[in-house]
Amino acid sequence: MDQSKGKALQLDADHAAFIQGAVSVVVSSRNSQHVPDVVRGCGCRVSRDRRRVTVLVEAARTGSVLDDIATNGLIAVVFSQPSTHRTIQLKGSDARITRVTGADRGIAQRHLRAWVQDLQLIGYAADFARAVRGEAPDLVAVTFTLAAAYLQTPGPAAGQRLEQ
């Protein structure tokens, strides 16, 4: 496991704002055979103390991701802004499925709008961007405590740990 397992990290305000903005959210897990799975998410929220992150996913697309998480709690999520390529990855080992709130549905709606706008900035058609993201009528929330955070913007610094 990551060396920082069990140690609760804290995101700085800038990164917290970044991952709750116009970013692609991609969630991955692995099963007992160490076979990974992956699903594109629909937004996220960061706890007030910035130590926990909740990602929203559309249930119908999750494959084995939710089962994997329910079984072992391991999660890796990459957040990337399409127009800037700015990217970070967060990991956790206590992920669990949590209740979707009314606020979460609002977050997903705002994420859809912001993400589509960001893709339009780099030349994608709005209807294409909306189609990729989908309306996500059946949201599931997955919450985890930050165990590790990495910079992943393309370039030689990719893979470095975020300074805490």
Partner: protein, 451 residues
């Protein structure tokens, strides 16, 4: 929502138009997810992922080969999941070269030129493909390159009986059948030092005689790696236009006079494809096409051009064999009436066989040596009828390989004269035979190295 789909049927997702993601798992069980610039279709059972930096993904697959790749259809936005197993990394060879060029285009599109650099092609076996999400958008119209159209191109090629018409038919069938309007054929110098343009379509100037070196741009890369190379977005890294200009600056001054012929090209070119023309394993040349549309040439167009170029390569080889036999026939030698008018001065620079008619650069190299022999025989003996055979046997011409490429050089010479020199013309009179037409008196001057 999940149904089995073949890798082949989702090739459009593997063009790099929309970034893909790959999930992996470390040996200790920690999952990882990362963006991947290029997921490339290798064959119905394999893909290759671009290896650009030593990343966690790469470290993970070396420990645990299982990976899951999520790709997005560029027209519909539908998502597909590939269950894959890492096999090996290739850091040279056709797959590497092909991905390197494509990545340069992707990088250019993403504003990442100089950041995205291919270190290796990570080859994965694909165990299953599933659709995870469907959208209401419909894919773009089916590709223009159907099997029926490829067949039509090949039938047109089969109806040709000499190299010049074969090359013209090749480019015209691309235009008429496949809708590819800007294209050219470059033949390989038997020495392997250069490729020279012998035919083109769709450009203001034909560029016949323009040269490119192996390794330069998409054309040079295709020649060197003997594999199709294509890019979907303009990139300075593979911009053959720039390489040519640099070359012209560096090499073009011969005896103080500009002697480089500019390669034709679309200034606004976005999509480019170069396909080797092979006869068996022998590289004869490169078929090149380009478009101002982005993403004009996909996997289907590549398949079509590869099949057509393969067929053309075999046809060229058959014509070469036929020509070698036919040109053994003796040539009737007749004296032509002496031309009238003011004489034209023709100069040959011995150093590289470059020929100038008046002040205009005409041709150099082997084609230059051929022209000089013809003009010399015309001036000294009044000869106008010639055979390929005697050119092959003439020690002054120094054909690098007697069996190769003479016909292509004659086409080059013939077309160059047609475009640039109204006083001289070469006319084919039969297989392996041709006639020189001269309509002005000539004075010949050789300029040696030390003058």
């Amino acid at each position: 929502m999940t149904q089995p789909i073949t890798l082949h049927s989702i090739r459009a997702c593997l063009e790099g138009a929309v970034p893909a993601v790959v999930a992996t798992c470390a040996g200790d069980g920690t999952p990882n997810v990362s963006y991947i610039s290029e997921v490339h279709y290798v064959d119905p059972g394999h893909v290759a992922l671009s290896y650009q930096f030593f990343s966690k993904t790469r470290q993970n697959v070396l420990e645990n080969p299982r990976a899951t790749v999520l790709v997005i259809h560029p027209d519909t936005g539908a998502q597909y999941k590939l269950a894959a197993g890492y096999l090996r990394t290739e850091d040279s060879g056709p797959l590497f070269e092909c991905m390197k060029a494509k990545l340069a285009g992707i990088a250019s599109h993403a504003g990442m030129t100089g950041v995205f650099r291919l270190r290796g092609a990570d080859v994965y076996r694909v165990d299953s493909v599933t659709q995870v999400y469907r959208t209401s958008l419909t894919p773009a119209a089916a590709s223009a390159s159907s099997l029926a159209q490829v067949r039509c191109c090949i039938e047109r090629l089969s109806a040709t009986s000499d190299l010049a018409s074969l090359l013209d038919t090749l480019l015209e069938s691309l235009r008429d059948v496949l809708g590819i309007r800007h294209s050219m054929v470059l033949m390989r110098e038997p020495t392997g030092q250069a490729l020279y343009t012998v035919a083109s379509r769709g450009y203001t100037a034909s560029g016949v005689g323009a040269e490119i070196r192996p390794g330069e741009g998409v054309i040079g890369a295709a020649a060197l790696s003997r594999t199709p190379i294509r890019i979907a977005h303009a990139t300075s890294e593979f911009g053959y236009g720039r390489a040519m200009r640099d070359d012209a600056t560096r090499l073009g001054i011969t005896a103080g006079i500009e002697s480089a012929i500019p390669l034709p090209g679309l200034p606004e070119s976005q999509s480019q494809i170069a396909v080797p023309i092979l006869a068996g394993e022998r590289l004869l040349g490169v078929l090149f096409a380009e478009s101002i549309e982005t993403g004009r040439f996909g996997y289907d167009e590549e398949d079509a051009l590869v099949v057509v170029a393969r067929h053309a390569g075999s046809a060229v080889a058959m014509l070469e064999e036929g020509e070698a036999i036919d040109s053994d026939r003796p040539v009737a030698r007749s004296a032509a009436p002496a031309p009238r008018g003011a004489p034209i001065r023709v100069r040959r620079y011995v150093e590289n066989d470059s020929i100038f008619v008046g002040d205009e650069y005409m041709i150099k190299g082997v084609a230059g040596a051929i022209l000089w022999k013809l003009l010399r025989d015309f001036v000294n003996e009044g000869r106008t009828e010639f055979s390929n055979r005697e050119l092959r046997l003439d020690p002054a011409i120094r054909l690098p390989d007697l069996s190769e490429n003479l016909e292509a050089r004659l086409i080059l010479l013939q077309r160059r004269l047609e475009e640039r020199c109204p006083s001289l013309r070469i006319e084919k009179t039969g297989r392996g035979q041709f006639r020189l037409h001269v309509n002005r008196p000539l004075t010949l001057a050789e300029i040696g190295r030390h003058q």
